[in-house]
Symmetry: C2
Subunit: 578 residues, 2 copies
């Protein structure tokens, strides 16, 4: 077989991550040996390898897995690295390296390792013992609030406690258990949580696009890719930081890098997972190569290029979590099946649900984020309604509210002054008629040249797809905006207080070769809006279809008038017009 595709991959753990890894392996007919107890998620859909019965923490079972596998990898970092060290020394190919797993599974040593490699992460202090005294000492250094965390075996918010004030000290220590090693982490006042999946291959460190993650009760609820309202420069910085972080670990494979975007746009690493990650599920449908195929490619040395990790389409992932009753998560599946546009449904076959357990996920991809949001929103509403009856507030969890958001704007309507707004009203009404999400901004080429430049430069990375700019007189705004953006710019000349408006028209129309503005007639914001809908129709069939219907409607309207004119004659018709 070419390219190591006949090598047998042994996986410690057979949960959903192992299962999705096996799905990717199935497509390439790469044999996978799963080590887990019973007919676990991964074993249910994999029949190419020799599965091993036993716990992924059982030393003998791991030795047995290693004996029947050419590469050994993990779907969870909470593994016995002593055994991995032993089999590695005996010649087994363990990816990523056991030292990487050992460093990462202790969150404090993980942080220390990152800091010693110059990677930005939150300041952290280990507690010598789980006592009030040691916690108070840490709080003196880090300030309050702070996050108290278990060093090991913590995930999905378990093992974390948000310590708001001294009053919480006792409850925090009690919640995290008397005997566990703890550390305190400086509170990060973030405006958003982001994640980047990184692929460490033999020769390269590659990254998937930056994802926005939305947590509820410390459990990932939703991911949005590309991250909404995040400029391409932040996306790039996030990918750079994630690659830098992963580069300082040994071995091959994918790594999930969770980070905070602070209020000042600074990025801080939160945690790293040395394996496929919930925040990367979207890659299955949205990227040419998924995080799972990328992991296989990395550990088997299959050639993989950065371009293959690009986003084909915006994607939203919604986790299907266990609810109050054993079957409440199945109601979400039922809703998803009934959707007009059915999202891709992934069920994990994990048996009985318990509250917060990850039972599956949904992914919707669409030509625009705006369309994806529209499709998924009823399902988010359904999940929220299910939970609203049972909302919990516990001190052990931090909550990022997944509040309902307005759809991301696709069109920015810019004007130099609010005096232009009434002239643009018919155009804005047209955008609303077509249900185009838009934003209106006042920015002046002459009075706020810097603000205008900043906005025009960042519009594309904010998800804007068409800019409409209106101006009168020495009407520089459309052309100046065009100078700063690769987006199509439609200029609307507004008749100024003096002259016939030709000054406005020519100021917009006669741009030099190299910097196009697309001009419509004087005061004709309606046509600018219609042209924007036509342009959006390139990516979004909904707009195209609505536009075709609009043309038919306009045709019908004129034909009806003509019919009436023929019927009643011009004199009666004229009377009717009065």
């Amino acid at each position: 077989m070419v390219n190591n595709m006949d090598k047998r991959v042994g996986v410690l753990g057979g949960g959903q991550l192992g299962a999705m890894l096996a799905e990717a392996a199935n497509l390439l007919r790469i044999p996978v040996n799963v080590l887990d107890v019973g007919h676990s998620s991964a074993k249910q859909i994999s029949n190419l390898g020799d599965h091993v019965e036993g716990s992924f923490k059982d030393a003998d079972a791991i030795r047995k897995l290693a004996a029947s596998s050419d590469v050994v990898t993990v779907e969870i970092e909470h593994v016995d690295t002593q055994i991995l060290e032993e089999i590695s020394n005996a010649g087994a190919d363990v990816q990523p390296h056991w030292r990487t797993l050992r460093t990462i599974q202790d969150k404090y040593t993980q942080k220390e390792h990152l800091i010693s490699n110059g990677v930005a992460t939150a300041q952290s202090i280990p507690l010598k013992s789980a006592t009030l005294k040691d916690l108070a000492e840490a709080a003196d250094v880090l300030g309050l609030p702070l996050m108290l965390k278990s060093r090991k075996e913590a995930y999905d918010g378990r093992g974390n406690y948000a310590v708001k004030s001294k009053v919480d000290f006792e409850a925090a220590l009690e919640a995290l258990g008397g005997n566990r090693a703890l550390y305190a982490e400086k509170w990060a006042e973030f405006r958003m949580e982001l994640a980047v999946m990184v692929v460490k291959t033999r020769d390269d460190v590659l990254s998937f696009p930056t994802t926005e993650t939305v947590h509820e009760n410390s459990i990932c609820k939703l991911t949005y890719t590309p991250a909404r309202g995040v400029s391409s420069s932040i996306d790039q910085r996030a990918q750079d930081l994630a690659r830098k972080a992963v580069a300082c670990f040994e071995g091959k494979g994918v790594f999930g890098v969770e980070m905070f975007l602070l209020q000042n746009d600074e990025l801080l690493i939160n945690e790293i997972a040395p394996r496929p990650h919930n925040s990367g599920h979207y890659t299955i449908e949205a990227c040419g190569v998924s995080q799972y195929e990328a992991h296989l490619s990395a550990i088997l040395d299959l050639p993989l290029k950065q371009k293959s990790l690009r986003l084909n389409q915006p994607a939203i992932m919604l986790n299907i979590l266990g609810g109050e009753t054993e079957n409440s998560h199945l109601k979400v599946v039922e809703e998803a099946l009934k959707s007009d546009v059915r999202p891709k449904i992934h069920l994990y076959g994990k048996g009985k649900a318990r509250k917060g357990r990850k039972m599956g996920h949904l992914t919707i991809t669409a030509p625009t984020m705006s369309e994806a949001e529209e499709i998924i929103q009823p399902l988010i509403d359904f999940v929220d309604a299910q939970n609203s009856t049972t909302t919990q507030t516990t001190g052990t969890t931090t909550t990022t509210a997944a509040t309902k958001r307005k759809r991301s704007p696709l069109v920015a309507v810019l004007m130099g002054s609010d005096s232009d707004l009434p002239k643009l009203a018919p155009g804005l009404a047209t955008l609303r008629l077509f249900n185009v999400p838009y934003t209106t901004r006042i920015t002046s080429a002459h009075r706020t040249p810097d603000a205008m430049a900043i906005y025009a430069r960042s519009a594309a990375s904010l998800g804007i797809e068409v800019i409409i700019a209106a101006a009168g007189g020495a009407a520089h705004l459309p052309g100046m905006v065009s100078a700063y953006t690769p987006l199509p710019v439609i200029g609307v000349p507004i008749k100024a207080s003096m002259g016939d408006g030709m000054d406005s028209v020519l100021s917009i129309l006669n741009m030099p070769k190299g910097v196009p503005t697309l001009t419509v007639g004087l005061n004709n914001g309606t046509n600018a809006a219609l042209a924007a809908v036509r342009i959006l129709g390139l990516r979004d069939r909904g707009f195209r279809e609505a536009y075709v219907e609009f043309m038919r409607e306009a045709e019908r309207g004129v034909l009806e008038k003509d019919g009436r004119l023929v019927e009643v004659g011009d004199e009666v018709y004229l009377e009717g017009m009065e």
Copy 2:
């Protein structure tokens, strides 16, 4: 479990179609029982059900499968329908209906059934016996050339013989074997082969988009979706015809409908497969719901809506066929792995290759067909180069050459007269600079109003995304084109022989509210082209990135000039300009 998702699906046959059905079932954790011999393709990746050992033609094995399954379906139509009738009468749920399978597996009765239901298909005559006399009689009715076909057990061109003239009679009868039931089919002079996957649910008949299929040596080589150069009205007619054809069969499930698009745009059904089909593989990556998930949804009565079958992105599928040597198909996989943008690789795990055997397939999706074509072309070239050393020409196969095609145009540049062409030359050069596939057309609002209307009306469905129209004087072309299309139209005013060109500008700019044209400066085709590239950037990151680079380059150019002006002073600079 909600919605029948715990029902066990029994499948006759465990080849690649059964395997991909099992993949879709895996995601939903629907248990699948595969009946096939040994560790066949489907069994390799399915471990949720109770597979049955045995041939899918073995009556006892089928009875055993039925006993352990809630629904029985097929991945191949060449099954023993007597047994299916028996188990059906005994209460088994067989989908689609055994009568449907019996009618379809005999291609002549299939054709008769379609004709009796008023579905357009090629005229066919059964041969009483496989004799020269009976073939000559059929030729008298149908004319020559004609297709001589086996009524049963024919697929991938086996069992077909193109009879060009009387000289071929003997060879044809010999090739198709003396004892088989044969029929003769009227020769279809098609310009293209199309296929539509249809989903027959309990309550509905739904259709996927129309696919273009390219055959080589009578075996499907490539599919393109949407079909290239096919208008949306033909797409719609093809879907309508396919749904009508499938509606006249009993039972539930997906059906592959192959058809011919004749020179006069008429559509004729070629063949129907009562199961998932090679021409529908693209749906796995390109549609929200794949043909396999649709099949499961249909036979299990899961709710499914037409919108879920829509195309998310253009897709090209390339079959990986067995070649001259046992491993030559793996070379294609190796090439695919090395691609800059890796296509999705599906291997079937079918063991040894033989020439023409379907060993796997590749699917590439991209924001535009043009981009997908660019990514896949090197792999098509690789396959063609592999085959060119061993090209076969046999009388038993018809060949549709998969010749290299120009990329489908994204921009149409229209002008009323070829005298406008020189003025547009810089704009066309700009399109070439950005590697935008475009077409130039001469069409006049005044001299060829009908031709203009027809072109403008069909441009969108031909894959055109932006129209540039140039005109001078009473410059009606851009506005008139805009009146017929939902696409963005950019008008380029051309200075006429008299006046300052303002007539051209205003004729394009001052369109009534409701019919936008986007106007650029006089003679400024360059800016029209640049604006088109900006618009295309909405769907195709390649264009967006190239445009950003173009802006940087332009900035550098001016800054360099400024540097030189500062350095040498204006007098020397002026000398340099002379």
